[in-house]
């Protein structure tokens, strides 16, 4: 790595940190942009719900199908509900929702802000004395912090129903036993572990996408580059932070590996 590359990387990280910090601080600092926040929530939440529904349904069904087949060999088919439930609530649900969110909402944020940069709209905001981070980034952070956890809950429920359908109608297991297993694993630890992640993922996706969008340079090609970078970086960060958070949560909640 060249010296200038390293310098640019440090500058980028510093700018990203400043944007993330000020964007979050904007939640408690006036002025509040309620209309923009609601618009962003509508775009991020209502607009993504159908995609989350479809993806989660088929992931739950595929997971249940695969586990039923494997567990049948071991004579442990009755544990399908338990394993599906743990996997969906703690890992697959939050990560799937976050990846879909990054692909749809993150890309949208980066391209929208990027085109505002290229059209001098962000410069215009600054000339009018409006803080672009407060006006553009904070509403997107708030909407992600609220809508991604909500979408994750919907996705989890749909995945569990998908798993139920396969377990009962394809693998011929008892439906009440399936739901009983799910109820057993809905402990504080599991629910807590599954619900912390979407908040972190939502925050990271919003910050990364806004940062990439606001650092767009160089016309249409630059816009394509920043949108791609926003999605790819968000996805990598989601997977890596999921691993780190899982490790931390297992330790904090007293699980032994």
């Amino acid at each position: 790595m060249k010296k200038t590359d390293l310098k640019n990387l440090i500058i980028d990280l510093q700018d990203f940190y400043l944007l993330s910090f000020h964007g979050l601080l904007g939640i408690i600092k006036k002025p509040f942009y309620l209309k923009e926040t609601i618009e962003q929530m509508d775009y991020a939440g209502a607009g993504s719900s159908l995609i989350i529904f479809l993806v989660s349904l088929f992931i739950g069904m595929a997971l249940s199908l695969q586990l039923s087949a494997e567990l049948s060999i071991l004579g442990l088919k009755m544990y399908t509900g338990r394993v599906v439930g743990i996997s969906v609530i703690r890992e697959i649900g939050p990560v799937t929702a976050a990846l879909v969110f990054a692909g749809r909402v993150g890309a949208g944020m980066a391209s929208e802000l990027g085109s505002m940069i290229l059209g001098h709209q962000v410069d215009t905001l600054r000339v009018f004395g409006v803080d672009p981070i407060k006006r553009l980034v904070t509403p997107r952070i708030i909407s992600s912090l609220i809508m991604l956890p909500a979408l994750t809950i919907i996705g989890d429920a749909v995945s569990l129903f998908g798993g139920y359908y396969i377990a009962v109608f394809v693998s011929y297991q008892s439906g009440s036993y399936y739901w009983g297993s799910i109820r057993d694993i809905l402990t504080f630890e599991n629910v807590f572990a599954g619900s912390v992640k979407p908040f972190l993922f939502g925050y990271l996706i919003a910050c990364i996408s806004c940062y990439m969008g606001l650092s767009t340079k160089g016309g249409a090609i630059g816009l394509r580059r920043s949108t791609t970078r926003a999605v790819v970086t968000s996805m990598i960060v989601i997977i890596v932070s999921d691993f780190m958070l899982t490790r931390i949560l297992l330790y904090v909640l007293g699980f032994s590996v």
């Binding site: 002025p31 505002m116 059209g119 001098h120 410069d123 000339v127 009018f128 409006v130």
Partner: protein, 261 residues
């Protein structure tokens, strides 16, 4: 009002301005001319503090703004009314909301007052009928006009800054924009004062590569080439200059003029 003192600026390895010094009074009508990429728009961005020079000082109203923070620059920016190339309207807002943007942001006007003020400003710039349209439904000329109306609503500017206000426009629309630029810089006629625009002669800086339009509106001309100013003078001096690059621009002007006749 504006002083550039030995300003250097580069975008990465690309040196854009080299040791640039000049001063402009608030009442002057200045055109900054030159080909693409010579740093004309960069000068406007430096004036309002959107970018910082690599070295040198920029002084506005006796205040050095070179190292001011974003919060401190807010006051400086309100002294100018800047109209970016292509208008830079917020494309998620309709014309009314674009013009009303700063009225909502900084005043406690009622809806009726905002509506009245917006209509008056749109009438002043001649696009009242476009009040409910979205930016992508406007023609190039209307775009600029709405942008000018929005910048008028933003503040009580001491000076206007126009970035390529006539680029991409047909000659009739370009002519109308030039007329509007002149109207806004002279002491207000009744329609302007009704629009809430304060009186007094205000200057402007117009950045353009269209000499023909610049000559219609400006009194002082600066010509940039290869990172430096190669000419700074009046209309008469511009016509008599022997600098080859400027002569070729003037030739272009004469050619166009003859073509019109």
């Amino acid at each position: 009002m504006i002083v550039f003192d030995r300003v250097w600026f580069s975008y990465g390895a690309n040196q854009v301005l080299k040791d640039l010094s000049f001063s402009i009074d608030a009442h002057e009508k200045v055109a900054i001319l030159g080909g693409s990429g010579v740093g004309k728009t960069t000068i406007l961005k430096l004036i309002v503090g959107l970018i910082r020079p690599d070295s040198g000082r920029i002084i506005i109203d006796g205040e050095d703004i070179t190292n001011k923070s974003e919060d401190e620059l807010r006051e400086v920016r309100l002294k100018f009314s800047i109209v970016f190339q292509e208008g830079a309207l917020f494309d998620s807002l309709n014309v009314k909301e674009n013009v009303a943007f700063c009225l909502r942001e900084y005043t406690k006007m009622s809806e009726d007052e905002i509506d009245r003020q917006v209509r008056e400003l749109l009438r002043v710039v001649g696009v009242e009928e476009a009040i409910d349209l979205m930016p992508d439904e406007l023609s190039g000329g209307m775009h600029r006009r709405v942008s000018i109306a929005r910048s008028l609503a933003a503040c009580k500017p001491k000076m206007f800054l126009y970035d390529e206000p006539t680029s991409g426009l047909d000659p009739i629309n370009a002519d109308n924009i030039c007329r509007l630029i002149l109207e806004l810089s002279t002491p207000p006629s009744p329609p302007l004062s009704k629009g809430g625009i304060e009186g007094g002669r205000r200057g402007f800086i117009i950045v353009t590569h269209k000499v023909f339009d610049a000559i219609k509106v400006a009194e002082r001309f600066m010509f940039l080439k290869d990172d430096i100013t190669i000419f700074d003078g009046s209309k008469e001096e511009l016509a008599d200059t022997t600098i080859p690059e400027i002569q070729s621009f003037i030739e272009e002007l004469r050619f166009k003029h003859q073509g019109k006749q």
